[in-house]
Structures are given as structure tokens and as C-alpha cells.
Amino acid sequence: MTQPRPARGEAWLSALAHELWPLASDEAAAVVAELRGHLAARAEAGALDECLAALGPPKAFAAAYDLPGERARTIAPVPAGMSGEARKTVRILLRDTRATLRASRNGLMLVGALLVTILTATDFLLWTASRLPSVGIAVAPVTAIRIATLLSALSATYRLALSPVERPWSVDRTFFKFVGALAIATALVVATALAVGWTAASLAHGPAGDAIRRAAGLAALALGSIALLRVQPWLAALASRRQGFSLAAAWRGTRGRMATIVGSWAVLVLPLYLLHVLVNLLALRILPFDAGGMLALAGLDALACALILVTAAMLNAAVLRWILGEPVPAPSPFATEKPAPELVDAARTRLDRLLQAQPVRAA
């Protein structure tokens, strides 16, 4: 497994791995591993070029694996001990995050639509309250609606990504457990950052005290945020009702992978977060208040926030699957499976009631 691999063969395999996205991640990995062995054998025999020509373009080759039809079983996955692929790179986590998005159940568009609508409205109201206090907008209910929407959307996103059966929008015990755990974890991080900052400031005397307090507070916040990232897979498991996955398991499972996880956040989430900060700066500090312009900025900010939430949830779901050693399932957008009979019955009953309530039109 440590022998040098021919670059042309690896380039072909890399393109093949990219084209195999319709398969579950473990099946795609098994196909690539098998072909890697094949190319190595042909390269040893000095026939790599002929072999690559016979295999054809990766796209066409990959298409041959995505045949509709009977699937009594899945392709045997490569055992963990034999997998030559390093599992701890940002590139692989990004690939699994994208696969997680593709494999999520229908409903993410609804999450996005709801987020953009509510966040645009609440952004606009909160900015107006800040810039034009004379209008008298009550900030507390607007903020409450905003937080409730974000929490419901996050819970729904985890359920759509990680559970084949959980109803995404149910406000049940699982939802409240998830919200409670998220609130406690976030409050702990913020409180620790504040405590560290104030302690540092009390120890440092003179005009430098304020700067030291800020620096210490920021450092504590950064470390706390990294700790919060380690907790995220547990929160994802909690939201999607995955029994038996403890906080300790999340903590242990992310050990040695934090550089990859933080790197992936920096690539995927940080640019969106910076956009969110920039838009808020423009709206609250820099641009003159203009209703039309503010509404457009609010829409942009809402889009950025929705993308932050969905992207972060996909990343956390992918990390949870890494820890559990669970493959990312094959994509199933616009799934054609029949809905559960009880759901169909409930929908029929509602439809009948609606139809009965409608006035009968005269011919």
C-alpha cells in the first residue's frame, strides 16, 4: 500500500471518484480501491496506457455503475484496516459534506425558503429598530421569532440529513433536548470567554488592562468555539434521535481530527460568516438608512445565514458519520418511494374536510 502510485492512474481514479457521486460513499470507495489494484497490476506489467484506454473516460466508466434495477445487496466495502485512503483530509471531509447534502431527504429547499423569508423580515425589522428607534419596533418578539426559526430549521436540517424517518418539523421532546443542549453549550463557551477576559483584566493593571481583557476574551472564545465544534456531532445525533451516541463519544471521535474539521469550517462556513458580518456592518454602521436598500441587504444577509446553517449542519452530519464509521448513503433527491400509509390517510382526511367545507358552485 505504500508503493508509489502512477500519477496518470491516480488522476484517472480521482476523476472516477468524483463521477461516482450517485453511489453511497462506501460503495464508491470500494469501486475506486478495486480499480486502484487493477491499475497497479497493469502498471507493473507495463500496460498502464493500454489499460486506461480500455477503461475509457471516467465519466462513461462511472455511468456503468449507476444502473437502475434490482439491488439485493450492496457492493462489499473495503475493510477499515485495508483502506489506503487517508480519512483525515479537508478535501475528503468536503467531499463527504457534499455527499451528505445530496443524500439528504427532500425538504431542505423548504428549510432554505423558510429561513430566507423569516430572516429577511427579522433582519429588516431589527435594523430598522436600531437605526430608527422612533419607529418603536419591539425587538424582543422579533428576536424570539428569529431564534425559534433558526432552531427549528437547524433541527429539521439534521433530521433530513441523518434520519430516514424522523419528521423534520416536529416540536417534540427530542427537539427540546437538542435546543437545551445547544443553549447550555453555547452559554458555557460565552461565559467562559467573558470570565477569562475579566480575570485577565483584573490581573493586568494600567491602561493595557482593557486590551488584555479583550485579547484574553477573544482567545478564550476561539478555544471555546473549537470545543463547541467538538460537541456538534453529539448535537446532530441528539436532533436526529440517534440513540446511544454520547457527548463523550463525540469528544473522543473528534480527537485528532480537529485540524481537518476547523479547516473545513474555514473553507465552507467562514467566507459566508464574513459576508454576514460585512452586510451587518453596512446596514448598521456605514450605509444611510433607505428602506429599499435595507430590504435588499436583509435578503442578502438572510441568504448568507441560511447557507451558514445548512452548510454547518451538513459538515457536522458528515463528521458524525465519520465518527460512527457510517457511509454516506446514495443520493435520494426527489425520492419516488411511496409515503407511509398513515401519512396518506391523514392527508386524505384533511383533503376531504377541506372539500366538504367548500361551497358548491351552481352549474
Binding site: 470500494a30 480501491a33 477503461l55 455503475y65 444502473l67 457492493i75
Partner: protein
């Protein structure tokens, strides 16, 4: 239809039987299968073997196991027939033999009887008669 496309159709139909027959009573990995099918006139090639193996595995005709033999540097995926695969190949082989014998006989018959066949009447002509 040109000969190439006809030959391609023939290969597709026969590849499954070749692979299943080669795996009767033993387990082989991809390169071994290709080497053994080397004289198959291109029925099984590098480009067609692996997707075919994956399909047969998904259909439950083959079972696969990853092994790392002493002489190998990269893990190999060994395939063997399942009971379902055994039953299928046992059914396919006589069908193929009969098919092949029939085609051979038809070709041989035309060789020995070069007289032109009587032109057939169309359905419309028959109806008029």
C-alpha cells in the same frame, strides 16, 4: 446494424455467462478473471468487467471478500458464486449450448444449401389471395 455494433451486443449477452462460468468452484479477483478470459475474444474486457461484477454482486449472484494476500501490495477483491449464482449459471449453460448449436446448424445448413429462398408473400398479398 453494422458488424461492430452487432458484435458488441453479442459480447454484452455472453459476458455474464463467461464471468459466472469462470467463477464456478473457485474465487478469483478482477485481474485473474481478465487473464483467464483472455482468450474470450474480447467478450470480457477491462472496461466492462468491473461494472458487470458490481451488478452481479448487487443482484446477489456473486459474493465478494477483500483480502490482502502475502504477495499483494494492494488489497484485492475476490469474487465467488453464491447459491443463486450457481443456480443461474447451471441454467444458463445449457441454454447457451442449445443456442450456439442452433446458430451453428443454421450457418452450416445455408452452406450446404445455397439455393435462393422462395420470396415471401407479404401479409397483404396473402390476404388478397
Amino acid at each position: 446494424m453494422n458488424v461492430d455494433s452487432w458484435q458488441s451486443q453479442l459480447r454484452k449477452g455472453a459476458a455474464e455467462l463467461v464471468v459466472l462460468s469462470l467463477l464456478r468452484g473457485r474465487q478469483l479477483y478482477g485481474v485473474e478473471l481478465l487473464d483467464r478470459a483472455g482468450g474470450s475474444g474480447g467478450i470480457v474486457s477491462d472496461g466492462t468487467l468491473y461494472p458487470l461484477l458490481a451488478r452481479l454482486e448487487r443482484e446477489g449472484k456473486l459474493a465478494a471478500e477483500w483480502l490482502l494476500p502475502d504477495e499483494a501490495k494492494i488489497p484485492r477483491k475476490y469474487y465467488r458464486l453464491t447459491a443463486e449464482g450457481e443456480a443461474l449459471v447451471a441454467e444458463m449453460q445449457p441454454v447457451w449450448r442449445a443456442f450456439s448449436a442452433f446458430v451453428d446448424a443454421a450457418i452450416e445448413e445455408r452452406k450446404h444449401d445455397p439455393a435462393p429462398a422462395r420470396p415471401r408473400r407479404s401479409l397483404a398479398e396473402r390476404a388478397r389471395a
